[in-house]
Subunit: 370 residues, 2 copies
């Protein structure tokens, strides 16, 4: 079951929306046109304000509800909403519009003498969650056809959704994390082909989806230890994401690797106490938070991770981590400022890749002692 | 300038929405909660129908308008809309929600005892067009920060938009066509690394963005002829998309290639008359139309192109073309049915790639005589 919400925008000359009389004129033209398309349409309610323009509700048998706003800045928004039972055809179908050769918005645009008219792709609400934000809060609709798994660990909500083109996707607290399509993510994080992992000692902080561990083991390292807090994430990925994690989450300890279930900060402290050092430390934990100041729990956590990670790194070791969407300039700068505050001093390079399941370009950091 | 439209969905137990009394109860809880958040909120209008549920309009000084629908199927939709002048902060900001630690939807979900609550990423309406559909009509918001060029040729509307991560994008009649990020598109269309173009004779039908011609010329073919109808598309791409087309659109004729401005069907007929044959013909024209039956102008055009193309192909020649989004199973099947109707018989293989500016996986066809 899903409600369909269809949004239209029209840009008008400002003088057509500047005062009440002008707006009433536009509203009348709009109503006349809509009444052609929806013969049983009735005006149910309208209001007008000198500062906030015109608003009206029209409906057809209280089923299809149309709301219209005319802002005094030359913008008219039209929202159409109705319920579409499973298996029924949508009210305004693409096919139909192709056949008439004229879309609702282009027809209205002519009558309204609009400078610009746009129909947003129809929003489907109420069944599967299919809309997720990018790092810079843009809406992306995924071609999700099935909720494969839903669970809740003591740490987070865990979901596996199936996308027709991206395969199974892991979502943590409703944010997309990694999908079967995302080998490029892991390869860019580990700088495959650039870094040489053969015979190296490696520590992964987080990495519960198993993809990084799986790819690293192909490069013949001496040993990898992975510190992941969420047992349920690993069980879930082992079951539903084996395309990207193979069978590495099946066992918790082999000659080549060890997975420790626990708080990575506690284990880093333990390693520091023991004087244990690594050639590579991977920060595969939370993303950089999208805030304008580097404050709050997550930023504190990031600083704690930095501080401890560099204490377990060999002098020529590398700390590799993901950053955030490359459009999030402010947050990436804040992240770099935190790196620059570290003592002993560090320096960094970056790599980037378009990650299919994120539908955006992502930035990755490679940090060494300066 | 932009209006902000914020949509929330709540899934409720069906008995909470099954009859008027139950819906009134839900509406009351919702109003009480909203009045906490928006102290000046007023109920302006409401209506109720046994078949179509409850609808209400609330507003704050006629500025922020909230509409609410309670469908009898256990779905509550909440739409918030207001005008945000340039440079002002949004009403419901992400930062604010992070700091309070509770989002509007999670707060409401608790009060409404909702099984599921979701806020769609905020929609921004009225300034730049930023929402475009995928082949299967999913909404995608692009990180467009500038309209670089807008024009209209006798054939189509031509726009160059700048995306922060995809670079300049070519849009034809409001549909994304190719962007600076899309080398993979051209490479998959031409099967780079698999096909050998050295010393070959090639005909491109369409291809006005110049990217295919540019990449083919790197493979040292004997000669390429390109038949493109839209002069303005080529001028525009030459100016704004040189990252993908280099300088091949600067000249119309060299020893290696010739660009003919005209109707490709007319020129194909001419080639057939002359007995001219090619090793490769590229169909770089319109996409497969999204219809449920293979009828209408565009399907007729596709059949005409097929028919003529195979007449200018050497016996061991190949016809290479793009298909559509790999989720558009019905349309791809219709396309393949048209191929199977051809006489002499043909056979085909397919390749696919995730195209960054399409934000989806695209299917490509390689057709030879059977």
């Amino acid at each position: 079951m899903a409600a369909q919400t269809i949004l239209f925008d029209f840009t008008l000359d400002k003088d057509k929306t500047a005062d009440e009389e002008a707006r009433q004129q536009v509203a009348k033209i709009l109503r006349n046109e809509l009444e052609h398309l929806f013969p049983q349409l009735e005006l149910a309610y309208s209001m007008e304000s000198p500062e906030n323009g015109y608003f009206a509700v029209l409906h057809e048998n209280k089923d299809t509800v149309v709301t219209c706003r005319i802002f005094q800045h030359g913008l008219l928004t039209l929202n159409v909403e109705y319920f579409l039972p499973d298996g029924k055809e949508p009210l305004i179908s693409f096919d139909e519009l192709m056949q008439t050769g004229r879309t609702l918005e282009s027809g209205l645009a002519i009558k309204l003498k609009a400078k610009k008219a746009q129909k947003l792709p129809t929003l489907k609400r109420g069944d599967v969650s299919r809309y997720f934000p990018t790092a810079d809060e843009r809406i992306i609709e995924y071609d999700i056809d099935k909720v494969v798994y839903e669970g809740r660990s003591p740490f987070q909500k865990i979901q596996i959704m199936h996308s027709k083109t991206l395969g199974n996707m892991l979502l943590l607290d409703e944010l997309q994390n990694i999908a079967e399509s995302d080998l490029i993510y892991t390869e860019t994080l580990m700088c495959r082909g650039v870094e040489n992992y053969e015979g190296k000692e490696i520590c992964i902080l987080g990495g519960g989806d198993g993809a990084l561990l799986y790819e690293l083991l192909k490069e013949n390292p001496k040993h990898v230890v992975m510190l992941e807090i969420d047992e349920l994430v690993m069980q879930t990925c082992n079951k539903y994401l084996s395309v990207i994690c193979g069978d590495v989450l099946e066992k918790r300890k082999t000659d080549q690797y060890e997975i420790v279930v626990g708080d990575c900060v506690e284990y880093l402290k333990k390693f520091i106490g023991e004087g244990r050092k690594f050639d590579y430390v991977f920060g595969d934990l939370t993303d950089i938070p999208i805030t304008d100041v580097p404050e709050g729990e997550t930023w504190d956590f990031i600083r704690t991770i930095f501080e401890h990670s560099f204490k377990v790194l060999k002098p020529d070791g590398k700390y590799l981590t993901h950053g955030n969407g490359s459009t999030c300039k402010v947050q990436l700068r804040l992240f770099e400022e935190q790196l620059n505050l570290l003592r002993p001093k560090v320096k960094f390079t970056t790599t980037k890749a378009f990650v299919p399941s994120f539908m955006e370009e992502w930035l990755f950091y490679q940090v060494t002692f300066a």
